[in-house]
């Protein structure tokens, strides 16, 4: 790809850069992808995304609520696919975006990422390549813009809907099957680059306390205790 064709590249892009949609970047039709703001074949975009995750520092996956919480069977399957992908990326970390509430007075940047100040997590962990998956489009767009403005991180969006103009690589209609296809492309690129890696799960999130679900009580939910809770052992297969 010609250098001058690259509209959306890793930052820092500046104090308050224009969003990609203002720069004429359009979301691609089904079956196509965005690479640096240009519409390209999905395969080409996947290969470039794979290279970034394999070669840049501290590659990290940011799963959002749509894969973190077991809303339905499809979400659970998608979460499995994300874990399979993470296993194939050398030294990959997973830092969740469990919700979208601003974290005051201070976020724990090793424990989570937040759309109101995602750059703090990126900068603290020196993340140079990342994947957004399962984040609602509005919040993904806020995050991608702030990351491009203030960090040098290469952003990849695996979007279940139409994609994201402000990511360096945007793949649309990404569900479990498509994420597994991306994983296969990544393994292929990894092999071509001669990078040796035995699949293994990312390390446990260091900041999260060890969860002991056998001792949980309604009081652990604090002010949310009155909200609907699944019974212990209950698995919600499908929501309405």
């Amino acid at each position: 790809m010609q250098e001058e064709k690259k509209v959306i590249v890793p930052g820092p892009a500046g104090y308050n850069p224009k969003p990609a949609a203002f720069l004429g970047v359009d979301l691609p039709p089904p079956g196509r992808a965005l690479l640096y703001g240009e519409e390209v074949d999905e395969e080409k975009a996947m290969r470039e995304a794979a290279k970034a995750m394999l070669t840049r520092g501290n590659p990290t996956i940011f799963p959002g609520p749509l894969v973190l919480w077991g809303w339905n069977a499809a979400a659970m399957e998608k979460a499995k696919a994300v874990l399979e992908l993470a296993q194939e990326i050398p030294n990959c970390r997973i830092i969740p975006m469990p919700d979208y509430r601003p974290k005051y007075p201070k976020i724990d940047p090793e424990a989570e990422i937040n759309p109101n100040h995602p750059n703090l997590t990126i900068l603290h962990n020196k993340i140079e390549a990342c994947i957004f998956v399962g984040v609602h489009c509005h919040y993904a767009n806020l995050s991608l813009r702030m990351i491009r403005a203030g960090t040098n991180c290469f952003t990849i969006a695996l979007c279940a809907e139409m994609g994201h103009e402000d990511a360096m690589v945007s793949l649309r209609d990404q569900h479990a099957e498509e994420i597994r296809r991306f994983k296969d492309v990544l393994v292929q690129v990894r092999n071509e680059m001669g990078i040796e890696w035995e699949p293994k799960l990312p390390p446990e999130n260091p900041s999260l306390p060890k969860e002991d679900w056998t001792k949980i009580t309604p009081f652990d939910f604090g002010e949310y205790a009155a909200l609907l809770m699944p019974r212990r052992g209950e698995v919600v297969e499908e929501s309405e």
């Binding site: 509430r101 509005h138 767009n141």
Partner: protein, 389 residues
């Protein structure tokens, strides 16, 4: 009510057979709502909107809508629309002039809340002095709010834009309210021919899970923002989140372009694209502009018409392309501030060719002769003024 079968928006809007009816603009709004699988309508009456919402109330009585009520006033109506939509419902409301301005704080928060709803605006003079007559100065207030704003020329546009407004507003990459504006009385209370698809068809129901934000959850922004205002804290991060949030609203507005093209055939309509002089107009003024273009053609003058269907997103590139060889651009309007002329001037590189008018306001009609005077001036034709009395 007839049994309605669900069909895709593409079929209902673009493919289904149509039957011609002679109806008012208010009826055209109601006919669109009838086929839009609307869950709830909430409004507060104000002339000239009242008739539309009465007709929508009739639709509720017939079983087309699940709920319908008169709110306490416009602020309450527009806030309730936000709540209903965030709760997963498809909603329609409408207002006019002073009612629009009373509801404005709630309305302009819809884009930030990502509220996909359709708002009918039947334009009316903004007080004072009190008047109920058509004047579209109120649209100037909506142009900088992030909403998608469509401006209907006639009853047919009212129907098509309103029905298309729902799928456009609910696209995941848009997810903004869509305003369908038209001139009060001139369109709402006058009859015109409208080609309608069968009334036993309706849009698919809204899927609130196909959205760029989660459905109702008061613990996430923007709901929580209203409750404990965390992004209002004075630090750089709070400024930054608000900045990119605004960018997202206007990016979404940009993304509406392709859906407007898809469902209503483009942001503008051009008559005689090779003209020397263009009339650029929106809404009812476009109907008068259309007549002026026809008169000009009869007189052998090379005049074109650009009807602006979408005020937001604004058709900047389309206007640049269409007007690149124009030697004059006449912008007739139904308001004193000339908001469309300002928009056109800002869109094209040679803004000096734009004639800011003719403008009428306060409920005055816009005679074609007034536009023709500017056409003659543009061609350097001197006409004798006729004394009427």
């Amino acid at each position: 009510m007839p049994e309605q079968k669900v069909v895709e928006a593409e079929h209902l809007l673009l493919e289904a057979p149509r039957e011609r009816k002679f109806i008012t603009g208010s009826q055209a709004f109601a006919e669109a709502v009838k086929r839009a699988n609307v869950d709830i309508a909430i409004a507060y009456p104000i002339t000239p909107q009242s008739e539309t919402m009465h007709l929508v109330g009739d639709l509720y009585a017939q079983g087309y809508l699940k709920d319908y009520y008169r709110a306490e006033e416009e602020y309450g109506a527009m806030s309730a629309i936000a709540g209903a939509v965030r709760g997963g419902a498809r909603a329609f409301t409408a207002t006019s002039g002073p009612g629009l301005l009373r509801g404005l704080e709630a309305i302009v928060s819809w884009p930030g809340h990502r509220i996909p709803a359709v708002l009918g605006v039947m334009t009316r003079v903004v007080n004072a002095p009190l008047s109920i007559q058509p004047d579209n100065v109120e649209l100037a207030y909506l142009l900088h709010s992030g909403l998608v704003v469509l401006h209907a020329e006639n009853q047919q546009d009212v129907f098509d834009f309103t029905l298309a407004g729902f799928p456009i507003s609910e696209k995941v990459d848009v997810y903004l309210p869509v305003v369908v504006a038209t001139e009060g009385f001139f369109v709402t209370h006058a009859k015109g021919y409208v080609d309608l698809p069968p009334e036993d068809m309706k849009l698919p129901p809204r899927d609130p899970y196909k959205a760029p934000v989660p459905p109702t959850d008061c613990e996430i922004p923007p709901a929580r923002i209203q409750r404990d205002a965390p992004v209002q804290k004075s630090n750089f991060m709070s400024y930054l989140i608000h900045a990119v949030w605004q960018q997202e609203i206007w990016s979404a507005n940009e993304r509406a372009r392709k859906w407007i093209k898809h469902y209503i055939g483009g942001l503008i309509e051009v008559v005689n694209p090779d003209a020397e002089v263009f009339i650029v107009a929106s809404g009812c003024a476009a109907a008068q502009g259309r007549e002026a273009q026809r008169y000009s053609e009869l007189e052998g003058l090379n005049v074109g018409l650009v009807k602006v269907k979408s005020l937001r997103p604004f058709p900047v590139q389309e206007l640049r392309d269409t007007l690149k060889n124009a030697k004059a651009v006449i912008v007739p309007e139904h308001n004193i501030v000339g908001w469309l002329a300002k928009e056109v001037k800002a869109a094209i590189p040679n803004s000096g060719i734009v004639v800011d008018g003719p403008k009428v306001y306060g409920g005055m009609t816009l005679p074609v002769e007034l536009i023709m005077e500017e056409v003659y001036k543009a061609f350097g034709i001197k006409k004798e003024k006729k004394t009427l009395v």
